[in-house]
Subunit: 494 residues, 2 copies
Amino acid sequence: MTTITPASAVALPPTTDAELEQLLSAAHTAAAPLAAFRPAERAGLLDAVADALDAAAGKLIPEAERETRLPGARLRGELKRTTFQLRLFGEVLRDGGYLDARIDHADAEWPMGAPRPDLRRLRVPLGPVVVFAASNFPFAFSVAGGDTASALAAGSPVLLKAHSGHPGLSRLSAEVVTSALRKAGAPDGTFALIAGTAAGAEALSDPRVKAGAFTGSIPGGRALFEIANSRPEPIPFFGELGSNNPAFVTEAAARERGAEIAQGFVSSFTMGAGQFCTKPGTLFVPVGYGMVEALREAALPPAAPLLNERIQSGYTDTLTNLQSNPRITTLAQGTGPLADPPGPTLLLTTAADMLAEPHALQTECFGPAAVVVTYDDEVHLPDLAETFEGQLTATIHGTDSCQVAALVKVLARKAGRVVWNQWPTGVSVTHAQQHGGPYPATTAVGSTSVGTAAIERFLRPVAYQGFPQHLLPEVLREDNPLRVPRLVDGRKGN
Amino acid sequence: MTTITPASAVALPPTTDAELEQLLSAAHTAAAPLAAFRPAERAGLLDAVADALDAAAGKLIPEAERETRLPGARLRGELKRTTFQLRLFGEVLRDGGYLDARIDHADAEWPMGAPRPDLRRLRVPLGPVVVFAASNFPFAFSVAGGDTASALAAGSPVLLKAHSGHPGLSRLSAEVVTSALRKAGAPDGTFALIAGTAAGAEALSDPRVKAGAFTGSIPGGRALFEIANSRPEPIPFFGELGSNNPAFVTEAAARERGAEIAQGFVSSFTMGAGQFCTKPGTLFVPVGYGMVEALREAALPPAAPLLNERIQSGYTDTLTNLQSNPRITTLAQGTGPLADPPGPTLLLTTAADMLAEPHALQTECFGPAAVVVTYDDEVHLPDLAETFEGQLTATIHGTDSCQVAALVKVLARKAGRVVWNQWPTGVSVTHAQQHGGPYPATTAVGSTSVGTAAIERFLRPVAYQGFPQHLLPEVLREDNPLRVPRLVDGRKGN
């Protein structure tokens, strides 16, 4: 689990046991005062972090370019997404609906057979969270990314385990976050950076930590999931692990706009050099509609560098392994498909082969490669969809007919997000977004790591029974001083 | 993990591998058609089950009395609670708010830096659930209890692992449920009874099963939790395991109404012969206010039989062990405290002893025993509260002053439900109820197993991106034909 950092990057010194103890203690101490902030006050903390990151762009972007080999335009867009996300969670806090506040007044006639006491319920923060940063989005899924934003929004202090792929950027980002939080009045210990695999595992094992969040590989995520579950007090672990993101082209769609779909697919699977967790890794196309030919002739983008040497070598290993499978041929390749940087590769197989050996042919290949699967009759698409494990996304390119209803049903069972006539890459941060899915897409099928619902991961419900007004949290007082949406006696209201 | 069934009961034959395979296959097949029911249609199924159980009371109650040794009045009340609960989930379905439906319309100007696609999200059922029944509530936490009701409401088929403590009642109840579901038009395989520890574990391991729910002991629940997590595809496991449910009496409350509190405590810890998961197992009282004396003199109820021989022997073992602790003395005892049936027992210790050896002194003793802890100064109550692990409930008896705010804060962090001047036994089924808490109260800190929010355990979100209206689930169509509450572009609306 050691990542070789880019030549240009200087690894962070691993957090020592003594440092970790101090940081865990500070996070534990910060939990109560951070939880005591009114939601709208905590929104101010998130805004302050967003503003500080925007103001530091001139320092952060060059460091990110140097360490991740990603282009500046992409990185600037990603930073914008990151600060937007922080501010959007601020709006969620100001609205207050995320608290799921519920009030049931005492009711002597409650038809259960016994009087109903006065019961009032809201969601409260879990406590300190360890967030494991990802390498492929050095802003949006790293130090100040979605997991950090949603945990801080929930009111949980964050220990951020830096990804070794961008150590300098991690350190700079953490300085910006920590300084902004301090200036905005957050308790000391609200946020801290830690480094090293051992420190990350140690933090996740510590009784003061109450949840973990992770974006990365299946083996790494599964190992951390097991640590979280085998503690004396098991804690929730929200891991986003792996996804193939299959896409299906119907016969009618291939006939109507096969060439356009082919080009769209190429753009999507090579976006960010194929290093998106939503990269479509498999494309099902009908034989006889010219799509295989269109894909063979499609203009592949030039080679682009992968994030770091570990990803480069993992990519070439996985690709070599796929190409050695007798069920697979190579459909198209850019220049130097196994070089650094690698040109894109499109592989080819058949539906029969996919049915025969789905697990091997659906291996996630992190980088600019994908597998095209030809099928004879679209009536088999639902069965082909059934061969997939849990997915972050599944995509259909079809026409506006009802033919694909059965396929949609299977895919909605397999994936967290089903996409119609668009591509899964580019995960918008919205209220209705769902970035999750059955294992191995995530370790927590009920959760999302993108979108406003991501805050729910770091909350737990508490009910107050029979309490006098002044001892209740403000959110649950009769006069609703914070004006949050509430469910009162089973009905929406304030 | 073998339970000795009562002498009067005939054990169910363990489900064979062949039978289990047939039942798993049927549950798997039922999942899609059950999920396809409109919520209000599924409410009809729950109503039908409730009506059938009410109609079968004349058969069910005598069998329950025979097998559980619980009094008829208590059992009739519990059956009423059970059918009320089924109908309340019907109301939840008819309301539709549980779907958490969200619509974000496409927005080219979405300030994230990239256009927002049309995204629509709702919650869908997880798929087949294995429910492990409890012994102490042969209706409300057994065959047709809260886990079954909430899973069926969610749209997930249920495999119900019968508790060996009431085999005849389990069989009868399952016949009523199965027959009512069939008559109401539920798919075959929506509900089935299985028997035997091995079959339960086997079912939980099966890839067709998508969640588990359990109410019972810490060792049993933890073992099942590990099975659920170590599957190739880990699944959510909602276990309610153990809780001490401490109660704290402030000095002012002791002065004002110590005798009344003492009598209330005795009623609560002996309710149902102390076999409630919310039984207050520890009571903190101030020295010098006559409460120890009041408790010593309190009228203890007569001995009442425990549910079965295993619980009887577990109770006497735990009680004997507690009494052998040099930090503990016996404050009051009924007749035959170690006999079958056992008279109630009140033990006594001090705050200093509790601080010295909290784990041993907080052992859950399932049956009519509790520990009274004397303290010198109520300023120490928050520290005493800190010694507890996660709890289902925590109770304060205080006066209407602000002195106890610090104690409330600690208890809200430790417990799922905090109770003021009432007792935790008797868990009302309502919208705002929370029956859960940090481990070991539950294995899933974000969940509740009682109250309408229990349905959320068996759902997962799915987002649809860019879909034409006719391919969307009805709940997400623009015209909202089912009139469910929705969050549209971040605002409440339809």
